[in-house]
């Protein structure tokens, strides 16, 4: 149902769906949609964090014993990487709002590259964790004795939470690649760049999830 709409002051045509009165109208609906999706995501991850906090409350010693076995350096470097990628994405938005298509494309590339770097480091960390006998079904599970139950709960949350976050990040990298491809074809300008804005909100959300996961996994158990 897409019919091409002419952009003011540009030879480009971009798809406008027939139910909207203008591209601006369509853009507003898209932004509203992604914010509602974010509300959904907050409740989705919110249930995970609630369960996590609740289980930790009843098993503090076990969770701390589990947390002590995590790779805090990799986790912290990854936090830096992800925050930098969001900075790159936000800067890309500033570029395109001012009409800088080339600057936007480069910065989107940086954001996607940092996302991939995060996943590589995360994969290496999972490898270390596995060798360290922290996989919950490992017959020789690292934490033994009375604290084993709590530590296994902690590591259940670790594996569940990090894999879910990595899945979200993988989707995000795919979306950024899609935006880069469209940018390369010259689809975006200062007047029309709604997909860049929409996917930027998702990209930042994936960051925010990690900002909560980082202390949950690595920091709280190490507090003196």
């Amino acid at each position: 149902m897409a019919e091409p709409a002419q952009l003011p002051g540009s030879a480009l045509t971009v798809p406008q769906e027939f139910q909207y009165s203008s591209l601006f109208h369509q853009g507003e609906a898209a932004i509203a949609g992604i914010w509602l999706f974010m509300a959904q995501e907050c409740l989705f991850f919110g249930a995970l964090f609630l369960t996590w906090i609740y289980c930790r409350y009843w098993n503090i010693a076990g969770f701390d014993a589990g947390s002590a076995e995590t790779q805090v350096w990799i986790g912290s470097i990854n936090t830096g990487i992800l925050l930098t990628s969001s900075f790159a994405y936000a800067s890309a938005l500033l570029f395109i709002r001012a009409g800088g298509e080339r600057g936007m494309t480069i910065l989107l590339g940086v954001a996607a590259f940092l996302g991939i770097a995060f996943l590589c480091l995360k994969g290496y960390e999972w490898h270390l964790d596995f060798d360290d006998h922290t996989w919950v079904l490992d017959p020789d599970f690292k934490v033994k004795g009375a604290l084993q139950g709590g530590a296994k709960l902690f590591w259940s949350f670790y594996w569940f939470g990090t894999v879910l976050h990595a899945a979200h990040l993988t989707v995000g990298i795919g979306l950024v690649a899609y935006v880069i491809e469209r940018a390369r074809r010259g689809h975006f300008s200062a007047a029309y760049h709604t997909p860049v804005e929409v996917i930027g909100i998702y990209w930042s959300f994936v960051d925010i999830v990690w900002i909560i996961l980082w202390p949950f996994i690595y920091l709280i158990g190490r507090a003196p």
């Binding site: 139910q19 609906a29 949609g33 369960t51 076990g62 139950g149 296994k152 709960l153 569940f160």
Partner: protein, 546 residues
């Protein structure tokens, strides 16, 4: 009735006639066609769930159980519950009538995100196929609530696949809700202000908020359950220091709002039908609207009333009990306003109105017995008995399914361009009302006198009431089967419908029946208030089916 030539042209120009290939239906982004796809799909699920219920009632004819198998009975009531709740009641009115009518009622050409709408259907169908596979090939015997540790440690059924199916249908709901909210905010026609929106729209707005904010909590809970079932380690395992009551809290945090997800669209349908067939403005529009919103908000704070006997804190139970009483207030406001609308109205007893009147009675019965269950002391006696079964069937089946059928008959001329046979419609509405009461009224008594739910056998003293209930179920089944025959029949043989066969005021009646692909030939401009019914000039009943 205009001539056949003109009718043929109108059909050819409508959304039904544009292209009639399978491909054009399966890849459509037209909200009207997607509504029809959903209608066919959920009808299938309704009858699968219904057949499971029929086997249950058949089993309960004799005290020792006709099936002689507890395992089979457990699988039957799980199939009935899972299919009916997640694959019929939760999506029912929103994805069919809501999907079809919302853009038409607000004067839009489509929903805000047509492709997401189609994706929602594919998610639903995929989840549904996975669910049916799990049910029929593996068998699932844990009940629709999936409580651990039965579901995580002890059941032999296909729990993983079943949970996956529900998970996917949940995301289908989220996509639909998100779409509705954005549509209602951004695509209203000029002049269609918030206070001119029909109550149907307000109800769907409230439902959509619940879809978007409650369903993800269930999704995460089921994902954690999936993990725990798969690996045997997880947050609901008490042996590790986890808590299985936590599952119940998270589950009901979704599933209580889900009860309102199921009933609020029904309120919307009834609020359209009653003013139309009373030919009178809806009494207390603002109160009905705010009651919908109040129900949506309060519904998030009552989940603990499902857990009064779980051992949760007594103080929490007191608060949940009070909040549950509070939810009765907006529900009662709605009932009073519908009755107030009918008072001194010009009432016609067409099939949609019969369903609507039935709805008021059955919903009131279900709602009032809900107050018994909200009462802490009474609930200890009634919890886990057939009283609970009767209570929620009065609301969900007597209420919601009646509203669904009422709405389906009301908008059938708009959806298909054909009138259904009125006499058959009225007969089915009456048979359903009678059959329903015959089925579930005995269950109130059974529950009150102590028969527990979810058992394949029972003491002989309960047999008479059980046989009455099963007999009623066969009448009810007849009532539900009738529309399955006469509605498809009317597609080919029913008289052509005019644009506005009911003399109704909504915007959806201003376009042709069935509507063109773009809904309106020119964007409507709204200058009137909702339910702008004037007293008819002649009081005698007019024949709308000539």
């Amino acid at each position: 009735m205009s001539s056949t030539v003109i009718d043929r042209r109108e059909i050819a120009e409508s959304y039904l006639g544009e292209k009639f290939t399978l491909r054009s239906w399966l890849l459509t982004t037209d909200h009207k066609r997607i509504a029809v796809l959903f209608l066919i799909t959920i009808t299938g699920f309704f009858f699968v769930g219904g057949i499971a219920a029929a086997f249950m009632r058949w089993n309960l004819l004799v005290p020792e159980g006709m099936l002689r198998s507890d395992e089979t009975y457990n699988r039957l009531f799980t199939m009935h519950g899972v299919i009916m709740v997640w694959f019929f009641l939760v999506p029912s009115i929103p994805v069919t009538l809501g999907n079809f009518c919302i853009p038409l009622m607000i004067g839009a050409r489509d929903l805000a995100f047509p492709k997401i709408n189609l994706m929602s259907w594919y998610l639903f169908v995929t989840g549904g196929i996975i669910e049916l596979y799990a049910m029929f090939v593996g068998g699932v015997d844990v009940g629709w609530t999936f409580y651990p540790t039965l579901s995580t440690n002890y059941s032999n059924g296909f729990i993983l696949l079943s949970v996956l199916g529900v998970f996917m249908s949940g995301f289908s709901s989220i996509a639909t809700g998100l779409n509705f909210i954005v549509t209602i905010h951004t695509l209203r026609a000029p002049g269609m202000t918030w206070t001119r929106l029909p109550v149907f729209i307000w109800s769907h707005y409230s439902v959509s908020v619940l879809y978007v904010l409650a369903t993800p909590v269930l999704a995460m809970t089921l994902a954690l359950l999936f993990f725990e079932r798969l690996f045997g380690v997880g947050p609901f395992d008490p042996q590790l220091g986890g808590d299985l009551i936590l599952f119940q809290h998270l589950f009901w945090f979704y599933s209580h709002p889900a009860v309102y997800i199921m009933i609020l669209p029904g309120f919307g349908v009834i609020s359209e039908i009653i003013p139309c067939f009373s030919h009178k403005r809806l009494f207390g529009y603002e109160f009905v609207v705010w009651a919908s919103i109040a129900i949506a908000v309060i519904s998030f704070f009552v989940w603990g009333h499902h857990m009064f006997v779980s051992g949760q804190s007594l103080y929490a139970s007191v608060v949940f009990s009070l909040m549950s009483y509070a939810v009765a207030v907006p529900s009662a406001i709605k009932v009073f306003n519908w009755v107030g609308t009918m008072h001194k109205g010009f009432i016609r007893f067409d099939a949609p109105m019969l369903y609507a009147i039935g709805f008021i009675g059955l919903f009131t019965s279900g709602g009032l017995t809900g107050l018994w269950l909200a009462c802490l002391a009474a609930d200890v006696h009634l919890s886990q008995t057939y009283f609970v079964v009767a209570h929620f069937h009065y609301v969900m089946v007597g209420g919601m399914v009646s509203a669904f059928f009422g709405g389906l008959h009301f908008w059938w001329p708009k959806i298909t361009g054909r009138l259904y046979p009125e006499m058959w419609g009225r007969a089915a509405a009456l048979i359903i009302f009678i059959g329903f009461n015959m089925t579930f009224a005995p269950q109130y008594i059974l529950g009150y006198t102590g028969m527990p739910r979810r058992y394949a056998s029972y003491p002989p003293k309960f047999q008479v009431l059980n046989v009455m209930s099963s007999a009623g179920a066969s009448v009810l089944a007849l009532g539900y089967l009738l529309p399955l025959f006469y509605l498809p029949w009317s597609l080919f043989r029913g008289p052509r419908a005019t644009a506005n066969p009911w003399d109704a005021t909504g915007l959806e009646w201003q376009t042709s029946s069935p509507p063109p692909t773009t809904n309106f030939y020119a964007t409507p401009v709204v200058t009137w208030e909702p339910y702008d019914y004037k007293p008819p000039e002649r009081l005698e009943q007019r024949d709308y089916h000539g």
